[in-house]
Symmetry: C2
Subunit: 155 residues, 2 copies
């Protein structure tokens, strides 16, 4: 618990992201939402999660602003969980995870899904960390600086 508190108040944005949405079922729920899943029963069916765990995760994701809860678009009594802008902005994280998994987590001959561009049917290019000039950056090409949120700061 103390450790999670340390992540939540860390100056490191990676730590805060992990603390808020890093739990694996949270990310799987968001992945489902990108496939246009919106209802509790659909999340439950697709993920096979216990209802109490799914309910807790969805509640958390609504509290931190990843989902809005809305009346069902078909006028029925169901609620729908709709990704907010904050939720939709998780897309690059999931694509980066997907591409790492595609590259390293399957033996030759195993079946996996790939994400293709509707426009041309091509697989999405691999996400790369690049400079503003487009040069590919390795971790050693970067350094960290402390800044004040909302204002560009000094070390």
């Amino acid at each position: 618990m103390a450790k999670q508190e340390a992540l939540r108040t860390s100056e490191c944005p990676v730590a805060r992201t992990l603390e808020s949405i890093g739990e694996r079922w949270c990310l799987m729920i968001i992945r489902e939402a990108f496939d246009d899943v919106r209802r509790f029963s659909e999340f439950q069916k697709n993920l096979g999660l216990a209802k109490n765990i799914l309910a807790a995760r969805l509640k958390h994701l609504v509290e931190i602003g990843v989902f809005d809860v809305c009346p069902a678009s078909d006028g029925s009594a169901y609620k729908e969980y709709i990704l907010t802008e904050r939720g939709r902005s998780v897309f690059p994280i999931l694509v980066a995870m997907r591409q790492w998994g595609e590259r390293y987590m399957f033996e030759k001959g195993e079946i996996h899904s790939v994400l293709l561009d509707k426009e041309n049917g091509e697989p999405l290019p691999v996400l790369e960390v690049c400079s503003s000039q487009g040069a590919r950056l390795e971790p050693a090409d970067c350094y960290r600086q402390r800044v004040v949120a909302g204002v560009r700061g000094e070390e």
Copy 2:
């Protein structure tokens, strides 16, 4: 346990990545390694993790090929944990997490770190999912297809 097995054998690369490196301390350990942390005692000091948990996570990360264990570069008796290519390839995942955290997880006035390009001192551009023509893609611009690993397949 059954749920974790379901992730490990999933056709979805996101699920497999979450199962293999998605545990938050695994990703924090890899983050430390990008800052050139290599020794057990340094990981322990920086993360404040219990030794048994850290040892278990490092063992797992060695087993799945994220770290190689090497004799210390200074000739001492210490072991060093060195990121493999597979480990270094986690960089875009961590940068995407960092950028999401920078954007949404800090109140104005809070201090956080940013990653800058050594070449020009500028913050790294935000990672975006783009088509091969460079157009920014939203989740709705993409679709999934099943393929056989190592061979481009059909739905």
